[in-house]
């Protein structure tokens, strides 16, 4: 609870128009894109600069008030659901592109800047910022950094982490620190930049970031390979990579996903095949042409029924947009859509896809699978109805099996969406008790009062490990 006195102090810092606590306002910040999580905050504060953030954090620390930083609330791990009440700190007013440094190839931005807005500004200068989560039209850089988001280009170019050079952060005691710099090399002390990336708002508040840019690839080609056998599609993924070709994009969609995506996008996607791979290569013209030729041969050798190359950038963009809408389009099937984020080494994609299908049959749930097959990051997605408790239990059991299988294959419980509340009970499967202890020690050192996004990442109780082959 926030006392009247404290409320006055907050208002003194940010102005009354930036302090919201009506029931309606609290309700619309009680959720994010994660199904089945909802909890009301006590207030929403919209700071305008780092100094204001620092003062707010200091006050919260003094009064032990939970703080939930929020970009656009598109995360899929209940990371911004204010489960312990407190304050939602919104970055909609800190959304500027501060500097585009064409000599050092960097962009310095405020955390609330929408990813696509930044990408467009960068591309207007002929530069390239590769991380492109499917939610990039809405997600913010602050959210991307804190979830360490990946995207369609992750296979060749890596994820957000690989592009964060420097941060300005407000620590839980209100101190403002800077990490890293516009440097290609820097080994001065612990690498706090890397630690903060993916910290899900539990260690500090990011108020500024300097991002690495790269030159725009000269050309790009896009193609769609169609399969009547899902595992043949999955197998193609590892064959392409073992042939020492790293495509820019290598995405997988199964038949049920294709169907709903086509229903939304209406671009003529094939819906009569069992799976497709969306493959892109970029770079110098000759390299792209050579790689695409080779990839095409591999696909056909791995039993693709046909391979189609996009004839124009318009067509290619339509394909990418369709792929990006996959998750929300799946929501058409049933009232509740739960997506998972299991990731395995890319050599194991075929094994994982096979296991997912078996698990679906075993628990009698409908699982549609799509994902960033090239980096082993799959999104098995269940269409269900939260009101059907019996089915929800089977869904839960299926996901447990999926996580267990992913870890067994040398993978992890989340490749890009973060742990948040949703995955917290499973974290120990991946890290072990000792791993959790080490991470908790870091959390405690930075945030002794546990005000920073409490209840996220670390669960009160861990799930018991299930045995997959029971």
């Amino acid at each position: 609870m926030i006392s009247e006195r404290l409320k006055k102090q907050f208002i003194h810092i940010v102005g009354s128009e930036n302090y919201l606590d009506s029931k309606a306002e609290k309700l619309v910040y009680s959720y994010d894109a994660t199904p089945n999580y909802q909890a009301m905050p006590d207030a929403i504060i919209v700071p305008r600069n780092t100094e204001e953030v620092s003062q707010i954090v200091r006050l919260c620390n003094e009064h032990k008030i939970p703080l939930v930083p929020r970009g656009s609330g598109t995360n899929l791990c209940a990371g911004t659901c204010p489960t312990e009440g407190g304050i939602v700190l919104l970055f909609t007013r800190m959304n500027k592109l501060l500097e585009l440094d064409e000599e050092n190839l960097t962009a310095t931005v405020q955390p609330g800047l929408v990813t696509l807005d930044m990408i467009q500004a960068v591309e207007a200068k002929g530069l390239f910022y590769p991380p492109d989560p499917s939610s990039m039209k809405i997600s913010t850089i602050g959210g991307n950094i804190n979830e360490n988001s990946g995207g369609l280009r992750g296979l060749k170019y890596g994820v957000t982490r690989d592009y964060v050079l420097a941060l300005e952060a407000v620590m839980p005691n209100g101190d403002v620190i800077r990490t890293g710099g516009k440097l290609a090399k820097d080994v001065a002390g612990y690498d706090l930049t890397r630690l903060f990336v993916g910290s899900e708002g539990t260690l500090c508040i990011i108020t500024e970031a300097t991002l690495k840019l790269v030159p725009m690839p000269e050309t790009k080609q896009t193609m769609l390979a169609l399969y009547q056998d899902i595992e043949a599609a999955a197998k193609t993924v590892s064959t392409i990579i073992s042939n020492k070709i790293i495509p820019a994009t290598l995405e997988f969609l199964d038949q049920p996903t294709l169907e709903v995506v086509e229903d939304f996008a209406k671009i003529g996607l094939p819906t009569d095949v069992q799976a497709v791979l969306l493959i892109e290569q970029d770079g110098p013209l000759e390299v792209v042409a050579r790689d695409m030729q080779k990839i095409q041969e591999i696909c056909l050798a791995e039993r693709a029924v046909s391979v189609q190359v996009a004839q124009s950038e318009l067509e290619a963009e339509a394909l990418r947009t369709a792929r990006r809408s996959a998750l929300s389009a799946l929501a058409r099937l049933k009232p509740t859509t739960i997506l998972e984020d299991a990731t395995v080494p890319r050599s194991e994609v075929a094994a994982m896809v096979k296991a997912i299908n078996e698990i679906a049959i075993k628990h009698q749930v409908k699982i549609c699978t799509f994902g960033h097959a090239g980096d082993g990051n799959l999104h098995p997605t269940v269409a269900t109805d939260a009101r059907d408790h019996e089915e929800m239990e089977r869904v839960e059991a299926a996901f447990e099996d999926i996580f267990a299988k992913a870890i067994e294959l040398g993978g992890t419980i989340t490749g890009e969406h973060g742990v948040g509340m949703m995955k917290a009970p499973y974290l120990e499967w991946k890290l072990g008790a000792e791993g959790i202890a080490a991470m908790k020690a870091i959390k405690l050192a930075f945030d002794p009062n546990n005000i920073m996004n409490p209840g996220k990442v670390f669960a009160k109780e861990s799930r018991k490990r299930v045995v997959v082959s029971r």
């Binding site: 309606a24 309700l27 619309v28 959720y31 894109a33 598109t74 909609t92 007013r93 929408v114 389009a329």
Partner: protein
């Protein structure tokens, strides 16, 4: 203020009437946020976004919050432009949810006396009766023609009205006389080898205040090869009612229209106002619980076509059309685009007119802020949206803004007035513009 008892009743009605599946269909991905004008103009406030509004409606249904003033406020501030629908991958029918919620609130809340009287006059006493619309338009005509208008302008009386209303008064078109309005023909032949037989939905405002545009539309259709019937029994489409929480009246009007067009044996029913057309194609949803009318509504809906869609189908754009050299841009009608899905055809037509240098302005698909009576009841937000729209118009360097809906047309005229650009920049309905093109050509061929 909404009383405690009213809130309770509203909440109960929400539970009963709101489509729970549709509410659950929203998976809160936020894909709709960047398309929502009120989200953007409010400084990215979730409470003024589609996702937020749906969450609030659901919370009322679930009993998590009560339908208080703040909830009502967020619903009131929605333009109903439905730009959130085509971008929603989950296919949430936001417009239907909004309509239902507004109806529940309006039917169960006591408005203040002046608001009540005004609503009753407009919704029940005026729009449903075409003869009364004529009388009112005629009064406006007398006001404009008698010299009273210029007297009022000089007197400064208008300064007593709010800003947007005074400008609105200035931009109203020169209306037709009673005689012109009453002499509406009911059957017109094709002026070319006949290709289609169509019925024309003449509308209420369109057939009084915008009679000239209706005449132009008819002429274009005739030249495109349409035989046209205009049933006298038709009336206002009911959109204004449906969007303002007067659903029952909307249903009444819908039934009368369906009956009026039912036995005409035509290929299409043509509309030339995006807002009306969108409401007409939704008649089946409006009457979904009425077994007697549902199938009739479906049959009706399937014939609805916007004038630009039928003109393109009949290859009107392949005619020689020409106007004086001018730079032209097009402002989409939200409902024509987002509900009827007609946005390519107007552009195809405009690009076919010689002399018209067509330039696509940025965010042409974003609402202009007119939205029925929104620009009067939510004047502040409406004018903010309009001002941003006019910035985009200025960037386009157009001298002519073409629109496809009477509300948008007036709003653009208002924008021109506010920027002090009358004389340099004009706004015109696409039918009138195409007629200019056709006549330019006809004159040339003489």
């Amino acid at each position: 203020m909404t009383s405690v008892k009213e809130k309770q009743v509203i909440q109960d009605e929400f539970k009963k009437r709101m489509d729970e599946d549709e509410l659950l269909n929203c998976m809160r991905c936020g894909f709709c946020l960047p398309s929502c004008p009120t989200y953007i103009e409010s400084g990215f406030k979730e409470s003024h976004s589609p996702r937020g509004r749906i969450a609030l409606m659901k919370a009322v249904v679930d009993g998590v919050i009560e339908p208080d003033e703040d909830v009502e406020r967020t619903l009131d501030l929605c333009l109903g432009c439905r730009a959130c629908e085509p971008v929603c991958p989950s296919g949430v029918k936001y417009g239907h949810l909004l309509e239902e919620a507004r109806d529940i609130i309006n039917q169960n809340k006591k408005h203040s006396l002046p608001v009540r009287v005004l609503r009753q006059t407009v919704f029940e006493g005026l729009f449903p009766y075409q003869n009364r619309m004529r009388v009112l338009t005629n009064l406006l005509g007398i006001y404009q023609r008698s010299g009273l208008q210029s007297a009022v302008h000089h007197s400064g009386l208008l300064r007593l009205l709010p800003d947007s209303m005074t400008s609105m008064e200035r931009v109203l078109p020169k209306v037709p006389t009673m005689k012109e309005m009453k002499n509406r023909p009911t059957h017109l032949p094709a002026l070319q080898a006949q290709k289609k037989r169509v019925a024309f939905f003449s509308g209420c405002l369109m057939d009084t205040m915008f009679l000239k545009t209706n005449d132009a539309t008819i002429k274009l259709l005739q030249h495109a090869g349409c035989e046209i019937v205009i049933p006298k029994e038709q009336n206002c489409c009911g959109a204004l009612h449906g969007h303002s929480g007067e659903k029952n009246m909307g249903k009444e009007l819908a039934k009368r229209n369906i009956a009026a067009f039912e036995d005409l044996e035509v290929d299409y029913i043509i509309t030339n106002a995006g807002g009306c057309g969108a409401f007409l194609v939704d008649y089946d949803h409006l009457l979904k619980d009425d077994p007697e009318w549902f199938m009739r509504a479906v049959a009706f809906k399937e014939k609805i076509k916007d004038m630009s869609a039928v003109l393109v189908e009949l290859k009107f754009h392949e005619k020689d059309l020409s106007v004086q050299p001018q730079r032209v841009t097009y402002q989409d009608s939200c409902h024509l685009r987002n509900v009827q899905g007609t946005f390519l055809q107007p552009r195809v037509l405009l690009q076919a007119v010689a002399g018209a240098d067509f330039y696509e302005m940025k965010d042409a698909d974003r609402c202009c802020g007119s939205a029925g009576i929104y620009n009067i009841v939510e004047s502040g937000m409406s004018m903010q949206i309009l001002d941003h729209k006019m910035e985009k118009v200025a960037e386009s360097m157009a001298t002519t803004i073409v629109t496809a809906n009477p509300g948008c047309l007036l709003q653009m005229k208002l924008g021109i007035e506010r920027e002090g650009l009358s004389g340099v920049l004009r706004a015109i309905h696409i039918a009138d513009f195409l007629l200019e093109g056709l006549e330019g050509q006809l004159e040339g061929s003489k």
